[in-house]
């Protein structure tokens, strides 16, 4: 388990390089990816929750951390969430679904693809929940700024 957490750190950092992230955000980005992955593993293997629920919890923790780091480093949140969710993306069920479909095992293939869409949906719900919450503050602050500039005229 520790080995896979270590590799999730490196994988997330490699993705950040792939997306040309600023160099000083590489270390926190890796941390975010590793934390999301370890929460997922912990929920799935130790508390034996279902895989979509574990992914949902991992995404919520990871998005909260991204919001925190975005404020510390004064960077847009996207810089942290986009590479951060990468370890949780359901690549395995997507591939398995496609593989069984071309092997004419349609029922297993559809089962895997539904699993993949559940997991992708869990990631999106987690992101929507946190980013929707933090948007409330951001929209209010932005509006106040625009109004304050125009009133001075």
């Amino acid at each position: 388990m520790l080995v896979s957490i270590f590799f999730s750190y490196i994988a997330t950092t490699a993705f950040a390089v792939l997306f040309n992230a600023p160099k000083r955000t590489l270390i926190p980005v890796g941390l975010i990816g590793a934390v999301g992955w370890s929460v997922y593993l912990l929920m799935r293997d130790y508390f034996s929750y279902s895989s979509p629920l574990s992914i949902f919890c991992g995404t919520v923790v990871l998005s909260l951390m991204s919001e925190l780091f975005a404020r510390i480093y004064k960077q847009p949140v996207t810089l942290f969430t986009i590479p951060g969710i990468v370890p949780l993306v359901p690549g395995l069920p997507i591939y398995q679904g496609m593989y069984y479909m071309i092997m004419s095992a349609y029922s297993i293939g559809i089962e895997k693809l539904i699993k993949a869409s559940m997991e992708a949906g869990a990631i999106s719900l987690g992101i929507l929940l946190v980013s929707g919450l933090f948007r409330i503050f951001k929209v209010r602050r932005d509006r106040r700024f625009v109004y304050s500039r125009i009133k001075e005229q």
Binding site: V17, T25, T78, L79, P87, V89, M98, S131, R149
Partner: protein, 256 residues
């Protein structure tokens, strides 16, 4: 407050800067609301509160509500992910009140930003290879899988970057990537019996899965940009399907 340098720029000049900044953001893979907010913020620094913006993944339109108002528009045809550009432009938009450059200098600053060299294709390919290799291990692969997945991700990304100069459509790019991934993975499995085909292929497709379009699409939905959300998610499904087509063709031929 009256000594602010931006107030010496004319309104047209600020609009021009805002349009260019928006275009940079959209081509580097920012969400729709971030592009809109940045343009409105830049205009607000110049005390232009009446500006209205409409952004979709392919177009930026800036106008106002007056009957004899102005409109300017730009088209965006290709989108990549470049997080440093998003970071640089939003830093500029928040600090525009203390901006020390004039109009010409700002324009050349933005033009330089656009031309700033992306990491070379070898750096990108090695990063893709490392990411693929790590995913193969995270799924429970052994040392042979690590090496094979590195080779798979590296070769596929290098081939796609080499062919980028030909400007083939992204659908074909992804299909080709899928074919190369499947081919290299199957060859590795043939040569070394320790390799697990499934883990290598899953590791290899990870750098090509459209996670960014998907995430941004959802964030657009959350911000109420329904049109952009729909089109980004459609784009994500199209890319995933094209990747699957590439892998399926090779698997079918090889295993038949």
């Amino acid at each position: 407050m009256t000594t602010e340098k931006i107030m010496t720029m004319s309104q047209e000049e600020v609009l021009n800067i805002a349009l260019t900044a928006g275009k940079i953001l959209l081509t580097s893979g920012a969400e729709t609301y971030r592009v809109e907010d940045t343009i409105i913020r830049l205009c607000a620094w110049r005390k232009m509160g009446y500006v209205k913006v409409f952004v979709t993944p392919t177009v930026i339109i800036i106008g106002d509500e007056k009957a004899h108002g102005f409109t300017c528009m730009t088209r965006v045809t290709s989108r990549t992910t470049n997080l440093s550009l998003i970071s640089a432009v939003s830093e500029m938009s928040y600090g525009f009140g203390k901006w020390s450059l004039g109009y010409k200098e700002t324009k050349s600053f933005l033009a330089e930003l656009r031309k700033r060299p992306a990491p070379s294709k070898y750096v990108t390919s090695v990063a893709a290879g490392i990411a693929s290799a790590c995913f193969a291990v995270m799924l429970g692969g052994n040392f042979a899988d690590f090496g094979a997945a590195f080779l798979t991700g590296f070769t596929a990304m290098l081939a796609v970057k080499q062919l980028a100069v030909l400007r083939i459509t992204s659908f074909w790019e992804n299909t080709l990537a899928g074919m190369i991934i499947a081919f290299v993975a199957l060859t590795c499995c043939q040569l070394n019996s320790d390799c697990t085909q499934e883990k290598i292929i899953v590791g290899g497709i990870m750098p090509f899965l459209p996670g960014v379009s998907f995430t941004n699409g959802l964030r657009d939905f959350m911000a109420g940009d329904l049109l952009s959300g729909n089109s980004r998610i459609a784009e994500a499904f199209l890319f995933a399907a094209s990747l699957a087509v590439g892998i399926a063709v090779v698997l079918r031929i090889w295993l038949a």
